[in-house]
């Protein structure tokens, strides 16, 4: 017994063997050079513009802004990419693809820009990893098959596990030390000891918010706040994916009436031919014509 339903799906696609082979070649060309590189390049730029400093410098990783800003920004692209892969292909890896792509971009920057070119040690510019959060998000979508439930439960978990995930990477940097009679965290000292001409200390946006109640559990207040904002942002970006990713055609029916076909994937299928009595160029006799296309 086969592990997957692959044979059934291929059979249902009604593609001949050479068509199946060609589709796998398209998978390879489309997925790696186009989808993956495109996502990691644009998402990396998008993220660096909105949350770059917080996620590079170790002395920016505070309990308020870093915890709040990073999940909110990191859930944006996954929202749109998940819409696209799920709606058109039922593929539940949009978030993981986005976040791993982002990290590929980040590590290229760390190695070539920060370490090789600017001579900063890699631990000083180590980014957070939200791959765990992305996996939770993708699994939630696959299991619930609902973007609304994914937004409520998956995105909430996406943001809430951010701090515990990162604590394993950066906990060491909060060890206290005394320099010139003043208490600092190791992260503060690293930010001080490595000279950054263009980013003086006051550039840091840390610890200056009002998310401080409940006995000083600042990080969890920030995480909750971030989770709620992330839900909102995810739904907006899911709709962005819908807006950008939709394809439709204006189709002229038998009686000459123009109607909009929202799902372009139906074009060329037997179902389409049956529904519309045929399509020009398919050999199926009909009165339906493809009048105009837009994507």
């Amino acid at each position: 017994m086969a592990l997957f339903r692959t044979a059934q799906i291929i059979k249902a696609s009604k593609l001949p063997p050479e068509g199946v082979k060609l589709s796998r070649m398209i998978d390879a060309v489309y997925f790696l050079p186009i989808a993956y590189l495109g996502v990691f390049a644009t998402f990396h730029m998008h993220f660096d513009l909105l949350a770059g400093d917080w996620d590079f410098w170790i002395d920016w990783k505070d309990r308020q802004f870093w915890v709040t800003v990073t999940p909110v920004v990191e859930v944006m692209y996954p929202g749109a990419i998940m819409y696209y892969f799920w709606t058109f292909y039922r593929q539940p890896f949009g978030a993981t693809l986005s976040i791993t792509g982002l990290l590929v971009g980040k590590w290229i920057t760390i190695i070539f820009a920060w370490y090789w070119w600017a001579n900063f040690p890699m631990n000083f510019v180590m980014p957070a990893t939200m791959v765990g959060s992305a996996l939770i998000l993708d699994c939630t979508l696959l299991l619930t098959r609902s973007w609304m439930l994914t937004a409520i439960f998956g995105v909430w978990a996406f943001a809430m596990v951010f701090n515990p995930t990162q604590y394993a990477l950066f906990g060491y940097s909060h060890q206290p030390m005394v320099v010139d009679g003043q208490l600092l965290s190791l992260a503060d000292y690293m930010g001080f000891t490595y000279v950054r001409t263009g980013t003086p200390e006051y550039i840091r946006i840390i610890e200056v918010g009002s998310l401080r109640t409940f006995g000083g559990h600042t990080v969890w207040i920030s995480a909750f706040f971030s989770a709620f904002i992330s839900m909102l942002v995810f739904t907006i970006w899911w709709q962005v994916g819908h807006f950008v990713g939709q394809s439709f055609f204006w189709v002229k029916g038998k009686r000459g009436k123009m109607s909009r076909m929202n799902d372009v994937m139906v074009i060329g299928t037997d179902e389409y031919a049956v529904r519309h009595g045929g399509l020009m160029g398919t050999g199926v006799p009909s009165g339906a014509t493809l009048a105009e296309g837009k994507s």
């Binding site: 993981t96 890699m122 993708d138 699994c139 515990p164 906990g171 003086p200």
Partner: protein
């Protein structure tokens, strides 16, 4: 492709090759400064006035200690076009972190974070450093002002020899033990990134081993396609992955928490540094000033009164970290290690060089003339939004005591030699 097109390609290709070839004959000396000359003159002359800057020692080996010291006067005549120094940080301008900074004291107070400075205040900074990257480096003190940006001080050359691989930067922890900031937490960070990377790429690979796009899109468009692609194996994999993620996150968190029981948040305080003030027996008022653009000179007419008990001789005018001295200044304040490219030892001329006697008020005509005005791009004042100058005037008594006045005033450009005469 016809003959005409082939010719076109050959011509364009030849031009391209020639352009590339030119780069081999053009002088490609590396740029080794920080654009301080590109900062506008009013910004450099009337904000941070640097003096007594020292780079010591100028030659070090990797891991050696070095110091960058000096004083900074915050100009009273701070430009309106520049944000006030309510939040500032005395920084180092260097090509990357060629030195690490181990201590930074301003008027004796540690300055790890940014703090306010007062107009008219004087601040002495002592920055201790540790040589890190071998090379010939141009190092500046730098005053970073929030909302205004960094103001570069004078730049001096420091040489570091040795091998970067030998560099360590030990940091002693309060709870005991020492870590090297070059490598602390690196292995742990890499481990977690690799672990999550394996899980992430594994998840994608789980779906990538099967038809991914075209076939699924065709099936999805059919009746029942969605149900067909709800594969039970995928659902099991999703449950396993969800559980794995939560377990890994929990283990990582609790193990780290037990490993580091004592932690502190990032520190965001501001140092309160008490300023000192310049001391001088002279009272100086700027009566008139112009800058002779073709003559490369700043000419001032000052009303100077000696309120002290000893005769005083003017010996130096310093602005934007550039020093103009005469014989008095050279005799009293010549630091042989000061970068010669920003110091004019015969750059200050007085119409009457005799000392100003106690109680005397004299109209002093002073001329600081040198090609440095042009070379350091201070003659660009005519393009500034405020036509004013500023700087520090230094005088000495017979005992060698220094008297410093911060001066500033309106200034008029003189564009032609005829007009200047």
């Amino acid at each position: 492709m016809n003959a005409k097109n082939i010719l076109k390609v050959c011509v364009i290709g030849s031009l391209g090759m020639a352009t590339l070839g030119l780069t081999l004959v053009v002088d490609t000396t590396p740029v080794a400064a920080h654009g301080e000359r590109s900062q506008e003159p009013f910004l450099r002359m009337r904000t941070a006035q640097w003096y007594d800057t020292r780079w010591s020692p100028q030659k070090t080996s990797v891991n050696d200690e070095a110091m960058l010291t000096g004083k900074i006067h915050i100009a009273e005549d701070w430009p309106r076009a520049v944000a006030r120094p309510t939040r500032t940080f005395i920084n180092i301008g260097s090509p990357s972190s060629v030195f690490t900074r181990t201590s930074n004291k301003v008027n004796g107070t540690p300055m790890f974070t940014s703090g306010p400075m007062e107009l008219g205040g004087d601040y002495e900074y002592v920055i201790k450093m540790r040589a890190r990257l071998p090379g010939h480096h141009h190092i500046h003190p730098m005053l970073a002002v929030e909302k205004a940006g960094p103001v570069a001080g004078p730049g001096g050359w420091m040489d570091i020899s040795g091998n970067y691989k030998d560099f360590t930067n030990p940091a002693k922890l309060l709870v005991g033990g020492t870590v090297d900031t070059e490598t602390a937490g690196l292995a742990v960070g890499l481990f977690w990134h690799i672990l999550w990377g394996i899980l992430g790429f594994g998840w994608i690979a789980w779906f990538a081993v099967r038809p991914m796009f075209l076939i699924r899109a065709r099936v999805l468009a059919q009746e029942g396609g969605d149900a067909l692609m709800n594969d039970p194996a995928d659902r099991v994999a999703a449950y396993v992955m969800l559980g794995t993620c939560f377990v890994i996150i929990a283990i990582g968190f609790f193990v780290t928490d037990s490993q580091y029981p004592y932690t502190v948040p990032l520190q965001a305080g501001a140092p309160l540094i008490k300023p000192t003030h310049l001391k001088s027996d002279l009272t100086v008022k700027v009566l008139a000033a112009d800058y002779d653009v073709p003559g490369r000179a700043l000419r001032m007419t000052l009303s100077v009164t000696n309120n002290g008990e000893q005769p005083l001789s003017i010996g130096e005018f310093t602005t934007a970290g550039i020093r103009f001295l005469n014989k008095v200044g050279v005799a009293n304040n010549l630091d042989p290690t000061y970068p010669p490219e920003i110091m004019a030892q015969d750059g200050l001329h007085l119409e009457d060089e005799s000392p100003i006697n106690p109680g005397e008020t004299r109209e002093v005509k002073l001329d600081s003339r040198d090609s440095l005005w042009e070379f350091q791009r201070l003659m660009d004042m005519v393009h500034d939004p405020e036509q004013r100058f500023g700087g520090l005037l230094m005088a000495w008594d017979e005992s060698g005591n220094r008297h410093i006045n911060s001066i500033s005033g309106a200034i008029i450009p003189v564009f032609t030699r005829a007009a200047s005469s």
